[in-house]
Amino acid sequence: MSIEHGVFVEKYDLLGCIQCGRCTGGCPVTARTPLNVRRFVYDAVDDDRLEALSEQPEIWDCTTCNTCAIRCPKGLEPFEVLLGLRAMRAEEGNIEPTARDALESMFNNGNPWGKPAAKRVDWMEGIEGVDKVRILEPGEKADVLIHTCCTAVYDPRIMPLAKNLVRVLEAAGVDYGFIGVDEKHCGSEARRLGEEGLFEYFDEENTELFGSYEVNRLVTLSPHCFNTFKNEYTNLSIPVQHYTQLVAELIEDKKLKLSKEIGSQVVFHDPCYLGKKNLVFDEPRYILGQIPGIETAEFFRSKERSLCCEGGGGKMWVESESKEQRLAETRIADAEALGAKIVAVACPFCLLTLEDALKARGLEEEMRVADILELLGESL
């Protein structure tokens, strides 16, 4: 394929880079892969090199955690160069079979997991204390529109997050509504895998879908959906929140009563897409602080320095070649060192990767990983 001269330079402001190296210096995956994002920014200036750069396997190691962007003194986003290289591969159809399968499933089934679109709301059965989950018809009004997340609706391990969200909404008397069977992938992972065209498709489809309701705000379960709707959709006018922001409000307004005690030391792991990408650090901590019996601890690497769990950036579908210890295991080791009993998260990908790491380290008896929604559910 042909690249017009200077395309990457213009798109990513590559000439603004002063090659200071703060990006690579903070990049968490350098602990286990040869990825050198500073080098990619430098090399991508030369259009003739782009093809060869796109063939390098390290471009798939990036988790898009945003550390490089947060650290860049020039306000650049180095990881976007890597996504641009992925886009070159995706457009040619030259991507890993696992990425191909996820993308084809996104288009055919509206989710990356190969699950039938018709089964999108099966998770709504059997929620404790809830007869029926409210699903909005087109044109209907509600205060809050919920976008559940493909992982929450299909992965049995993540369904409890969605179910507890419903219990919280009901308990707090929120005027909420779910989308139902027409709910589709937000497009975040399509874009992370390099499929710009497919992302634009979801941008268009979902913007129209959300617009068909009369709602005041859109609330998501996953920080990835949150980030994409809030920052990447081109024409979405509805305000977007992550559930931690809504729940913090509800607690502050005294609409949600948390009565049961969870007597444990809890350490909160900042999801990259909530924290580093969108600077939402306080609300999850506030919520945890309001749960009776919880003692909170902080990781040494917390907030802007949170260690990525390697669930984002399409990593759920594309493995690195590296055999070095996964970052999630390092994170669990950090939690163990702190003496924490619960690692709290607010993201389905963090939950899956950290729990996997917990099992790999054989610590299931000593600790558990739980989403804040699960802790809320236990405390209601």
């Binding site: 399968d101 299909y154 391990r157 594309v318 493995e319 099992k359 790999a360």
Partner: protein, 320 residues
């Protein structure tokens, strides 16, 4: 009822079991069971088959030393035109699939494939087939004809004990011209060591329940006995007990074997996505709540380190 032709299937000096299954079926349907054996130097087969047929028609010719769909078709067309059987049964195998449609069209008779059940309504076969991956069944209605050709799925009908004593007749090869448009060259075995688990028919798959590398030899022995390949979850690949190309799951390979034996695998969603297309899933796990049991056809709640040695013994016993 008139004759029922059953095409015998053999390869590399072995008579395939499907032959006896179809002969058993033909016997159950009534009518005169005529086994049709095309081969070169296949007297042993003829003797074995005679126990399941009323007549064994043998065409012994070097042309049939190895399977060639065109040669088979040319012979069968002549034999069928001559004898006019009411029903022709062929195994729905790599041989049968290569043959049934073209044979039936050349004869201008109705046919269907992959029958899982066959019965007769007068002179007409009633065939049951599976649709949508076995989620529903369907019944086939044929246009009236004097002969029907039906491809029957392997292992759909159990082979009986035989109990017949068919007359073995050698027939001249009705195919006079050499078949040139298609020529058999050779058989090539799958390369050893180069396993592509996405193509495996049988998989023994291991998870964290394996506990240690030193438990691998029993898994290898089990897989060897079964003729199965070994695959695993991401956890065992991370631990270095299996190479990356053996990983089953959303970030690994998608497999669709006839048998997926999941040992010590919990059944996390990301793993199951890679093996949900398996025909038969058997799970062994200590934890009765392991999600794998939601997807398995058969389950054993027990420590795989105890079940595997017992299974090895049982398989040795079966194989005699």
């Amino acid at each position: 009822m008139s004759d029922i032709f059953v095409l015998a299937e053999h390869r590399q000096g072995e008579l395939r079991e499907v032959t006896l299954e179809l002969l058993t079926l033909a016997g159950e349907l009534g009518g005169n069971v005529v086994a049709v054996l095309l081969g070169s130097g296949v007297d042993d087969f003829a003797t074995k088959i005679a126990g399941y047929a009323d007549k064994v028609m043998v065409v012994d010719d070097p042309m049939f030393a190895n399977f060639n769909a065109m040669a088979y078709q040319a012979a069968l067309v002549e034999l069928i035109k001559k004898d006019k059987p009411g029903l022709v049964l062929v195994g729905n195998t790599s041989q049968g699939v290569d043959l049934v449609g073209s044979l039936a069209v050349e004869l201008e008779v109705p046919f269907t494939t992959d029958a899982v059940a066959v019965s007769m309504e007068g002179d007409k076969p009633v065939v049951t087939r599976q649709y949508y991956g076995g989620k529903i069944n369907g019944t086939i209605n044929f246009k009236d004809a004097d002969t029907y050709v039906v491809g029957v799925r392997e292992a759909a009908i159990p082979a009986g004990e035989g109990g017949k004593s068919g007359e073995v007749t050698k027939v001249d090869n009705p195919v006079t011209a050499e078949i040139t448009a298609r020529k058999f060259l050779e058989y090539v075995e799958a390369a050893i060591g180069d396993v592509d688990i996405t193509q495996s028919t049988l998989l023994v798959s291991i998870g964290r329940g394996i506990r240690e590398d030193k438990n691998m030899p029993m898994i290898e022995e089990l897989a060897g006995l079964m003729g199965a390949d070994i695959s695993g979850s991401r956890a065992v690949v991370d631990a270095g007990w299996l190479p990356t190309d053996r990983q089953v799951g959303i970030s690994g390979k998608t497999v669709k074997p006839k048998l997926y034996l999941a040992l010590g695998i919990s059944g996390a969603f990301q793993h199951v996505t890679g093996m949900k297309g398996s025909d038969l899933i058997v799970a062994v796990n200590k934890d009765p709540d392991a999600p794998i049991f939601q997807y398995a056809d058969f389950g054993i709640v027990n420590d795989l380190l105890k079940v595997v040695p017992a299974l090895i013994d049982k398989l040795k016993e079966i194989k005699g």
